[in-house]
């Protein structure tokens, strides 16, 4: 029986399979389909300082091998999260990680500070890469200096594991990764969605109310994999791979490229049971290849 457990920073995961923010609600919605306790962890929907109504509809466009979304961080704000949602999810037998978003540096800090008080949340994922909000989000994540700054400000108030989620919409992902590690990130997760667009030629209009939106799904997997590999080689902290993972083979590709763990996003919409299937598939792969521990996969890509 191969060992699937993995440690990222101080974070201990029973296996490397997490679910991606914005694609898994607060986990509760999946309880009909899977045993949440089988997962390495879940990253819940973005939490911001205040209530946000998100963008107007339509918010979704299907595209070849994926989809565009422009949800825009809809959520009821951190106080609501702490009071109403946290009590419902704190006893999940898996790691519950909160995706922290904001429009200003102060907002990120405020949210992180409040989540820091929640005993059952072992880590936050700082979302400096949302392409669907006018202020904040990707604007922070696309410039090394501001990425470092916001990470550093949050680092000062957040004492547990600080994951920073990177945007792929940049010339050099390694440069941003280094800045963020410099700012105090314990772990990096990548990638968030790639900025894209779709048009309805009959209406001669954009499909999304916001014109552009974030591309996710298998279409982005090759780009995500390349970035994970670059960042794994470029920085010393552990990396969580995200982007178009639909099955265990995809997950293993990311781990070979250097990811210590992975997140399953859009795939949850098509098969809400997919995350546990990926856990099982990784185990089967290890067994078939007689590999004792999933740790041996991390960055094991042979490039000679």
């Amino acid at each position: 029986m191969p060992d699937l457990s993995i440690t990222l920073g101080k974070l201990k995961l029973k296996n490397p399979v997490l679910t991606a923010s914005g694609t898994f609600g607060y986990g509760e919605e999946f309880a009909d389909f899977i045993d949440l306790g089988r997962l390495g962890g879940i990253v819940v929907k973005a939490v911001t300082g205040k209530n946000r109504d998100g963008n107007a509809y339509p918010r979704m466009a299907e595209v070849p091998g994926g989809m565009l979304n422009s949800v825009g961080l809809q959520n009821k704000g951190v106080d609501y999260f702490v009071k109403e949602i946290y009590p419902r999810i704190k006893d999940f037998t898996t790691n519950v990680i909160v995706n922290v978003s904001g429009s200003t540096l102060e907002e990120y800090v405020e949210v992180a500070e409040k989540i820091n008080e929640l005993a059952a949340i072992p880590a936050i994922e700082l979302n400096i890469s949302c392409p669907n909000v006018k202020q904040g989000g990707m604007a922070f994540g696309n410039v090394p200096s501001s990425a470092r700054e916001v990470t550093n400000a949050v680092r000062k108030v957040y004492k547990k594991d600080l994951i920073v989620k990177l945007s792929p919409n940049v010339t050099s992902i390694v440069e941003i990764a280094k800045a963020v590690v410099d700012g105090g990130a314990d772990i990096l997760s990548l990638i968030n969605t790639i900025l894209g667009m779709a048009i309805d030629v009959e209406k001669q209009r954009p499909v999304l109310s916001t014109v552009t939106g974030g591309l996710s799904g298998p279409a982005i997997k090759p780009v995500a994999l390349r970035m994970v590999w670059q960042v794994h080689k470029g920085v010393k902290v552990p990396v969580i791979g995200i982007g178009g993972i639909m099955n265990a083979t995809d997950a293993i590709e990311f781990m070979l490229a250097g990811a210590s763990a992975i997140q399953v996003g859009t795939a949850n919409f098509i098969d809400p049971g997919v995350s546990v299937k990926i856990v099982n598939g990784i185990e089967a792969y290890l067994r078939f290849h007689k590999i004792n521990s999933v740790n041996e996969l991390v960055g094991a890509l042979k490039t000679d």
Partner: protein, 261 residues
């Protein structure tokens, strides 16, 4: 609070083409069907379809607990519905269900159902349930032309059917909202259930307001998940953006913001 959801392989029992653009598919559940309610929908996975990625949502058209089946009434729009239309008897279809809320039962027996185009789909199931509750609704259906009116005989089993067509080829000429019952002072309905294109539903909601009748509408929206986690399907309501797939698809028309589409 919400009923348990399932992901199961159903078997195609019937696949009947009503006209070039519409078909009814009957699906057999692999285990006993849970309680299903009019207004709820299902998400089908479309196999072997390079140009579809996500599941496709369809309202439950009717349920037969005796045969453990439900039916869907589907309009062929693009790749996904086209692929589904060519499914053979005996083939499997993967289904997530039951999804969404349902129509509320009326506290009156003066009920009018209004369906435009493929919007009639959930109304058959609703009409059946109303009958079970001793209510014979009137059912107003509209289409561009006579050949767009589907399954009229089915509906007639459950209530009086009123018809409008845009070209006048059957029933009254015009849109459903032009029907002569809406020019009466006492049109004889206290509750409207409506499903169809947004502009039609908006107009119907206005009419309901005018007559001080209740009005529930079943909305569509672009859905990625169908079970509440992606927040892609929201509609503006008095309580802010709400998910059509969870808080809907059925909304009290008075609570809606009716965004432009």
């Amino acid at each position: 609070m919400s009923a348990r959801k399932f992901i199961q392989d159903f078997t195609v029992l019937k696949n009947i083409r009503l006209n070039p653009r519409h078909f009814v598919m009957e699906l057999l559940a692999p285990v006993k069907l849970p309680a299903l309610f009019p207004g709820q929908f299902v998400e089908l996975y479309v196999e072997d379809s390079p140009r579809t990625f996500l599941r496709r949502p369809f309202s439950i058209h009717s349920v037969n607990t005796a045969t453990n089946t439900f039916q869907l009434l589907i309009q062929i729009k693009g790749e996904g519905t086209k692929k589904l239309s060519s499914k053979s008897i005996g083939e499997k279809v993967n289904v997530i269900y039951p999804l969404g809320n349902s129509f509320t039962l009326p506290d009156t027996s003066d009920v009018l159902l209004i369906g435009g185009g493929c919007g009639v789909a959930p109304l058959l199931f609703l009409a059946m349930q109303l009958n079970t509750n001793g209510i014979n609704p009137r059912i107003l259906v509209g289409g561009k032309s006579k050949k767009d009116l589907l399954e009229l005989d089915e509906y007639r089993k459950y209530g009086e059917v009123l018809i409008t067509t845009e070209d006048g080829s059957e029933g009254e000429k015009g849109l459903v909202t032009d029907h002569s019952i809406f020019s009466k002072e006492q049109p004889g309905f206290k509750m409207i259930y409506c499903c169809g294109p947004d502009p039609m539903m908006k107009k119907v909601a206005e009419i309901a307001g005018k007559y001080k009748a209740g009005c529930e509408v079943s909305l569509e929206n672009t859905m990625a998940c169908g079970f509440g986690v992606c927040l892609c399907c929201v509609t503006q309501t008095l309580q802010g953006n709400q998910r059509v797939c969870v808080e809907g698809p059925v909304f009290n028309a008075k609570h809606l913001g009716w965004q432009k589409t």
